[in-house]
């Protein structure tokens, strides 16, 4: 564990461990209360594996009433609580605290209702993102947000982090695809925000809770809207001689009124690495490679692909291939989706950053990343959700060399600061968690942060729910850890990350 500062450990809570275990064992089935170190070990980290901490105890409630009673008990006894879904988050949002009750929501794993008439699904929070689509696809529907870890990440976690995905340019992130949630507040209050009807009465608590990273409440039920699957999906694979050309092409496609379902750019380093890894047939001589995907009805997709082709040619494209079948389209994506493992081949370790920038600043930001790469003497490969300006630089380093790790972290922080400087954001879809906590002062001033903390205090006066996350403890812009991968082994090597 690195030297990241977490909230002060309450030693009186540590000394009362046995009592807490037996008290909660009376609230829920004692079999669902884990306290032996061997049982706690699997919960010591999430997708941000650079940080590890065993919780005091793990509880696995089975009903909303149990969640409420546990939270009420913890609130009354001033015990910190860290909620956890599938534990795939990349920013350390469910990193335990030494004196916390880790509330693992794994038993909330059932889809409760599929309502085609209202085009929505009501589900428990620990159902995976992809399971929702699987449940409705036979009727030709799907759930639109598709974070790369969708095979494993939970829908409750998606709500907590406001997860995005490759297709969020056209279909929005989680917040735009939610209809309602049931939440338990730290004092045990159970309430529903939204439901099956669109928007809601009064203040938009659904919107406030979404992306609040488990600091405001524990989500116990989620209602998402489902969409009719598009009739046809086609992608074009386009090579460009310069990053500028690719960037201009993105801006023009958008300006022309075509909103692609997805638009991805990789730089030369990543194009080559992923092509070597997955044999996707990428133009490896191109300085930048773009995958642009359109979905809709046949005529619509044809019209957009044709327009994209013309714009690409105008912007000096060096190669252009349109998928002729769904298999070919998936092959285009295979390389892109192998970006993480491909980098694992190039270097012993890499860190994945997650910054958001205005689309038009792509070339400028990539030039800066290249400059920083030379300055820090560390190679970097860049993947970019170009449509919505979400950049994922992968910085390669060797964790056995302490100097290399420090350099990598400095490098990463410099990139994120630059993203903010050009009008972007610290995080596009991974969340702040502990990872970017100390960088919050790059994006916000004290008053902004104070306003957010006041909301936290309003709902959780003792700051017991997931403390130490999102908001800086220290008033410094320290550089903390990132998504760190050693020897190509992520925490969940079988989950796609892109």
């Amino acid at each position: 564990m690195s030297s990241l500062q977490m909230p002060k450990v309450d030693s009186s809570i540590l000394s009362k461990k046995d009592k807490i275990v037996s008290d909660i064992g009376r609230i829920i089935n004692p079999k669902n209360v884990l306290s032996h170190p061997d049982e706690l070990r699997p919960f010591e980290t999430d997708g941000l594996t650079a940080y590890r901490q065993m919780p005091l105890v793990v509880v696995m409630p089975e009903t909303v009433k149990e969640v409420s009673n546990i939270l009420k008990y913890c609130n009354d006894n001033k015990v910190k609580v860290v909620p956890r879904g599938a534990g795939t988050g990349l920013s350390g949002g469910s990193l335990p605290l030494e004196d916390c009750v880790l509330m693992a929501m794994g038993k909330f794993n059932k889809i409760l209702e599929i309502d085609y008439e209202n085009r929505c699904v009501v589900t428990q929070p620990c159902v995976t993102n992809l399971a929702i689509t699987h449940a409705v696809q036979d009727k030709g529907f799907y759930y639109a947000p598709d974070p790369s870890s969708q095979i494993a990440c939970s829908i409750g976690g998606n709500v907590a982090e406001n997860s995005g995905g490759v297709h969020s340019l056209k279909y929005g992130a989680t917040t735009n695809n939610l209809l309602g949630i049931e939440v338990v507040l730290m004092d045990g209050t159970i309430t529903k925000f939204g439901g099956k009807a669109m928007d809601s009465e009064g203040y938009d608590f659904l919107g406030l809770m979404t992306g609040s990273e488990g600091l405001l409440g524990v989500i116990t039920e989620v209602t998402v809207k489902i969409l009719k699957s598009p009739e046809i999906v086609k992608a074009a694979l386009i090579g460009f001689p310069t990053i500028e050309d690719a960037g201009n092409c993105v801006a023009e496609i958008i300006a022309e009124g075509c909103i692609p379902a997805g638009m991805e750019i990789m730089d030369k380093a990543l194009t080559k690495a992923t092509n070597d890894y997955s044999k996707a047939g990428y133009p490896t001589d191109a300085e930048a490679m773009m995958i642009v995907e359109f979905d809709g009805t046949e005529h619509e997709v044809e019209a957009y692909i044709e327009k994209a082709k013309q714009i690409a040619e105008k912007n000096n494209s060096s190669s252009l291939k349109v998928s002729k079948s769904n298999e070919e389209r998936l092959k285009f994506w295979a390389g892109r989706k192998a970006a993480f493992p491909a980098c694992g081949v190039l270097a012993p370790d890499y860190m994945c950053m997650d910054g958001s920038i205005p689309r038009g600043k792509l070339a400028e930001v990539l030039r800066e990343i290249t400059r920083l790469s030379k300055k820090y003497d560390l190679p970097v490969a860049n993947a970019f959700h170009a449509g919505d300006g979400n950049l994922h630089p992968l910085i390669m380093f060797d964790a056995n060399d302490k100097n290399s790790l420090k350099k990598c972290e400095d490098f990463g922080a410099d990139i994120l600061k630059y993203c903010v400087k050009v009008g972007g954001a610290l995080t596009g879809e991974h969340g702040v968690g502990i990872e970017k906590r100390e960088l919050m002062c790059e994006a916000f001033n004290d008053k902004d942060i104070q306003q957010q903390l006041t909301i936290k205090v309003a709902l959780d006066p003792n700051s017991l729910l997931n403390p130490g996350k999102v908001y800086p403890i220290l008033r410094k812009c320290a550089e903390e850890g990132r998504v760190h991968v050693h020897g190509g082994k992520t925490k969940f090597p079988d989950i796609p990350r892109f």
Binding site: D204, F205, S356, E429
Partner: protein
Amino acid sequence: MEEKQNFQTSLDFNQNIFKPSTREEIVEIVKNCYKKSVPLEISGLQSKNKIGRNFQAEKTLDLSNYKGIIDYKPEELYIKVKAGTPISEIEEALKKNNQQLAFEPNDFGYLFSGESNSGSIGGVVACNFAGSRRFKVGSVRDHLLGFQGVNGKGETIKSGGTVVKNVTGYDLCKILSGSFGTLTILTEISIKVLPKPETSKTLIIKNPHVKKALNYLGQSLSSSTDPSGGVFYPDYFGKNFILNDLTHDGGLTGVRIEGPMNSVDQRIDRLSKELDLIDNEFSVLDSVQTEIFWNKTKNLEVFKNSKSNLIRIVVPISETLQVIQKLKKDDLNYFIDWGGSLIWMAFDHLNSKILSEIKEITKIHQGYYTLIKIEDDFKASADIFTIDPIKYKISEKIKKSFDPKRIFNPGKMYTGI
């Protein structure tokens, strides 16, 4: 930028209506009101100021002079404006780049004053009322990328930004959308803009029956033809639409399809087949007529100059028919938008008995209502917005966190908030 603590302007605090043109003036006014606990009514272009409960405010903060486009980047799909900027000015600027506010803000001017007044962007965000594309593109809140505002202590705060993907901190854009100016005075607003579709057409089905209409709408919205609007007007409203290709004046169901020309034709054709329509049962409006038709819908023009009370009811689509059947009275006129889940209902006479009935019915059917227009005598005692006791308690806490002395529009949404 940090606030200067002792910023002085030449504002005269004896006046009752402030018309600031700079953020510094707004900050100074709020700080003064905070210090003296003076309640403030926040006002824009007066297009929706009648929506909400009556409340007492000693002073009015009129933002109509705080206007102008700060930054518009068509290729980045956003426009950043001052809160008092008229929607019409924004739409004019977007039009030049073939872009639009996809959430189609309602124009309440026809309803309240008989002529267009689409209000200011600040007012549109504060009310969060989206037009017919709601089910496809989201509400106003889904298009608010970022804001700068002044909280109840006179502190300048911000959240979000100008990029679409941003999960840095709590999403305050959402909690401020639809807060009716009770939490923070919005000063700068960054809003997502989208390209105008190449063309749009509307399939109009001649049909006076609401049950059948809801079936048509349900089927349309669940089809892969990707509609962007779905309405039903009963018989009595049919005559309000005089259009070349509209061959009858009775009840009608309208479904809008947008996109590239070829694709729109193909989808209209497919939809009419999927709905099993025979030739003389439907007509298709071209893009010019489509624009007129949906503008009339967005502007609630069927209620122009109407003296009736108007209620906005939102329920899941599966509940709409039952809600209408249960509420149906002789003096009731309504039309349905949002593909079946928004009911605009006009009552000639409204009293507390009828209103509690409406409240009960919308609650049973998992929805909510907002009283949009209501006779003055009844307004003082009526619940304009619905809420349950738990959410009321949470709302109180949130209100306090933004506006601890309750100086912004106190009581406009709920007593005590």
